[in-house]
């Protein structure tokens, strides 16, 4: 409750103070807000508080995902601090909307029933649409439009799914749904299954599972880089949090969704990885990589919550760090919002050695190479899925990672190849962005070497058995 309120207050402050203070001050305030919210989350740890009759529950699941969200948002703000002006995004509204979106994402993570989740999701999505379109350019608008249209379709599907689930169970609360689905009545089951599948589709739109992923590449590459960073990390984390709550907690007993999910995951992994193989623009590559990672993340989701939950949480954290790190490097170095083409990256190591190494670390982590955390994330996801009996799926995912390695490898290696052309990167000052990069790189490395730092916190299976709430 408190963390959400703090971010909300921050958002309001950013909205109103935007008229009186310079943008950077607003950004600082926003960051302070996020930190405060994080602190309040830490104090709530193990508290297991609920409010509004269980509509909001601050259990450890919510808190850990909330912290991931805050981390991603903080990195976004850090990056925006000095690149927003270049990206023509230097409005206080950007910070305000960002915080509103964060509020929404936290609502999802803390949600205890479908309606709260829906509100959070929409607050997040709506702010997201605006953020994506905020930059006054054709690219951003086009990206935002696609995002919006498909996102709206996703929302509608989701809402219809919620309606059907409500019809089948007579309740919105996760606990209620779980209890109701424990002893299924026959006449309701078809309703329930259809509802669950619609929910799955709706969430599929939000997290970009394969047949519903079309907006992703356009959005992540068309929107300003900072925005791409935010949307591909925080928003995705939140959508997964929602899925975790709904499918891992409330609807664990509902039949059929898991098998459909399997198909979606296969499609996602195949399409995401194959799509990324043929990209020539780094931003688009990252976009497809985000799709591919969705598949891996969903793999953890599919598994039994006791193992899949911590795996998903850890993976989300790592995913946030490495994706944000990569985008941050991109934001620091790019001259235009189109980002780099892969050719631009040739020889980056000799022009900006530190950035290149940082990017290489992020890419290696994304590719799942040890000792970086991406490996552990992938490993945990595979293990969770494997233990849940999805052996074939795990094999397919492993094959997908091979493709993934190749397309991450190409840019990573190109950076280290000699190149005589003059620098094409943006030369200016960019300390805060660098801070974000450092955060990402250090996080990825430390968590890779000592995964237990994060995993140990969430690994207690007890907190995952009450995913739906008490």
């Amino acid at each position: 409750m408190l963390p959400i309120l703090i971010t909300l207050l921050g958002a309001i402050a950013a909205t109103l103070l935007g008229f009186f203070l310079p943008r950077r001050a607003i950004t600082v305030i926003s960051m302070v807000t996020l930190v405060l919210s994080g602190v309040s989350m830490v104090t709530l740890w193990n508290g297991g508080l609920t409010s509004f009759n269980g509509s909001l529950q601050a259990d450890n699941v919510a808190l850990s995902i909330g912290l991931i969200i805050l981390l991603g948002s903080l990195m976004t703000l850090l990056v925006s601090f000095d690149t927003a002006a270049r990206a023509k995004l230097a409005f206080p509204e950007f910070d305000a909307l960002l915080l509103y979106a964060v509020t929404g994402t936290l609502l999802i993570a803390f949600s205890g029933d479908l309606v709260t989740m829906l509100i959070g999701l929409e607050v997040m999505s709506l702010s997201g649409y605006v953020i994506a379109t905020l930059q006054n350019s054709r690219r951003a608008e086009e990206a935002g439009m696609k995002y919006f249209l498909l996102g709206a379709v996703g929302s509608a599907t989701l809402i219809y799914g919620i309606a059907l689930v409500y019809g089948a169970t007579g309740t919105f609360s996760y606990v209620g749904i779980r209890d109701a689905t424990a002893g299924l009545q026959v006449e309701n089951i078809s309703l329930l299954v259809v509802g669950a599948l619609l929910l799955l589709c709706g969430f599929g739109f939000k997290v970009a599972l394969a047949p519903f992923h079309q907006w992703t590449p356009d959005l992540y590459s068309g929107a300003p880089t900072v925005v791409g960073l935010f949307l591909s990390t925080v928003v995705k984390v939140a959508a997964f949090a929602g899925m975790l709550r709904v499918f891992g907690g409330a609807m664990q007993n509902v039949p059929a969704w898991a098998s459909v999910m399997q198909i979606l995951i296969i499609a996602t992994i195949v399409i995401g990885n194959l799509g990324a193989l043929f990209q020539t623009n780094f931003k688009r590559l990252m976009a497809y990589s985000a799709v591919a990672h969705t598949g891996f993340l969903a793999l953890a989701l599919l598994a039994n919550p006791a193992t899949g939950g911590p795996a998903l949480t850890y993976y989300l954290l790592v995913y946030t760090l490495m994706t944000a790190g990569a985008f941050a490097v991109l934001a620091a170095l790019q001259r235009t919002e189109e980002g780099f083409s892969l050719d631009d990256m040739r020889g980056l190591f000799y022009r900006h050695p530190a950035y290149a190494v940082a990017l290489a670390v992020c890419l290696a982590s994304l590719a799942g190479l040890p000792p970086f955390a991406g490996f552990m994330g992938k490993y945990l996801a595979f293990q969770a899925a494997f233990q849940a009996g999805y052996v074939g799926l795990t094999l397919i995912a492993a094959m997908g990672s091979v493709a993934a390695l190749i397309y991450y490898l190409r840019p990573a290696m190109l950076m280290f190849m000699h190149d005589r052309t003059p620098a094409r990167e943006y030369p200016g000052e960019r300390t805060p962005t660098t801070a974000a990069v450092v955060l990402g790189v250090v996080g990825v490395t430390v968590l890779g070497v000592l995964p237990n730092l994060a995993y140990g916190l969430v690994a207690n299976p007890a907190i995952w058995t009450v995913l739906a709430g008490r």
Binding site: K88, F91, E93, V130, N136
Partner: protein, 391 residues
């Protein structure tokens, strides 16, 4: 009502509906006449007095003229919408009135003196009336011409702006009554006294909003001849034009009825008259019609008295004055009800009165809110890059 006679029920409803519609149309017809006469009187001239005795047949003549006039079809218009628009306008206008009770239940020859009744009568009525804006906007758009388009836009903007003030101003009232059905509101007033007493401030804002809602002076910008020829009506003629006019007047009647019902006890007369003629306060129709007549007169009176606002003033007036004021009224009422309910209701009336007086005293300052031309040179603007709501 037994289930078996649903068709009978339906039949009676239809009959009542037709009656109401006819009554409204007749009122509309004579309203035009009365308005012209009254205006003329106020401006010290005669007004129509040729057709029939005292010009009483003038409305009939007008009607015949409208019907037999050529129905122009503008080449650039979107024919379907062009035809549909006045229909929407009049339908909404007529429908809205049906929900207002004209007497106690069963007082109309054993039937209920209303066409339909909803639990959320006030809200339903507001909803239906606000649908009328489609008629106006679509009419303006479908004409395929510039003046109507702008006129339609303007009036749509105006109507929706004042819709807010209107909707908000009755909130305090609803809080007091605790129900949104007309029956309960009237019943509450019968026991506790007219709501105007307790919600005088709300009434003020409601009244102003009603004027704007029905596009009457001083808010009849959409039809401002000097600026936009005849607004959304420019390309309309004959019966369609008449329908729009009709809708406007019917809306006026509805607004009057609404004000009467919400703030002036509805179909109930003053209770003290019961002492003279027992039961007089419960006579159907008569009280409502009287009250409506009073408000209609007010409409005409104001038209004769006040000048028209400029469009920017109009919008600012709605957004910066009416909207916050009605909100404030709501909050104050809410606060009072929560913490001083035990003290009775009359202080609320005094509070409202004080507010109104304050507003009038401070009217010069208040006016600055909406009346100052806020022309800012472009250079002063924060670079146009600041997006507003996504533009």
């Amino acid at each position: 009502m037994p289930d078996t006679a649903w068709w009978l029920d339906l039949l009676w409803t239809v009959v009542k509906g037709v009656l109401v519609a006819l009554a409204l149309l007749t009122t509309f017809a004579y309203m035009t006449l009365i308005e012209r006469r009254l205006l003329a009187r106020m401006q010290i001239r005669w007004g129509p007095n040729r057709v029939g005795p005292m010009g009483l047949l003038q409305p009939l003549a007008d009607a015949i003229k409208s019907i037999f006039k050529e129905d122009l079809r503008i080449t650039k218009a979107d024919q379907l919408v062009y035809t549909l628009a006045p229909l929407i306008a009049i339908t909404c206008a007529l429908t809205a009135f049906g929900g207002i009770p004209a007497g106690p239940a069963g007082s109309f020859f054993g039937l209920n003196p209303w066409v339909y009744s909803l639990d959320v009568g006030v809200i339903g009525l507001l909803a239906i009336t606000s649908m009328g804006v489609y008629g106006i906007f679509l009419g303006g758009w479908a004409s395929g011409s510039k003046y109507p388009l702008l006129g339609g836009l303007r009036s749509a903007a105006q109507i929706i702006s004042y819709e807010l003030g209107m909707g908000l101003s009755i909130l305090g009232l609803l809080m007091l009554v605790g129900s949104a059905s007309f029956q309960s509101i009237i019943g509450w007033q019968a026991t506790n006294g007219w709501l105007i007493v307790f919600q005088v401030f709300a009434f003020a804002t409601f009244l102003v909003s009603s004027f704007a809602e029905v596009n009457r002076t001083p808010f009849d910008l959409p039809e401002a001849e000097q600026e936009l020829v005849a607004g959304y009506l420019t390309e309309y003629s004959a019966i369609k034009w008449a329908l729009f006019q009709m809708a406007e007047y019917v809306n006026m009647i509805t607004a009057s009825a609404l004000m009467a019902t919400l703030f002036f006890g509805g179909y109930k007369g003053p209770v003290f008259l019961d002492g003279l003629i027992p039961g007089i306060s419960n006579w159907p129709f008569i009280w409502l019609i009287l009250k409506i007549a009073f408000f209609l007169f007010l409409f005409i009176w104001v038209r004769a008295t006040l000048p028209r606002l400029r469009y920017d003033q109009l919008m600012r007036f709605g957004w910066k004055l009416i909207f916050p004021l009605s909100l404030a009224n709501t909050v104050i009422t809410g606060f009072y009800l929560t913490y001083f309910r035990g003290a009775g209701l009359w202080p609320l009336g005094i509070l409202g009165l004080i507010g109104l007086v304050l507003l009038i005293v401070m009217s010069d300052r208040a006016r600055r809110l909406w009346n100052t031309p806020t022309h800012r040179p472009d250079a002063e603007r924060p670079a146009a890059s600041r997006p507003v709501g996504g533009d």
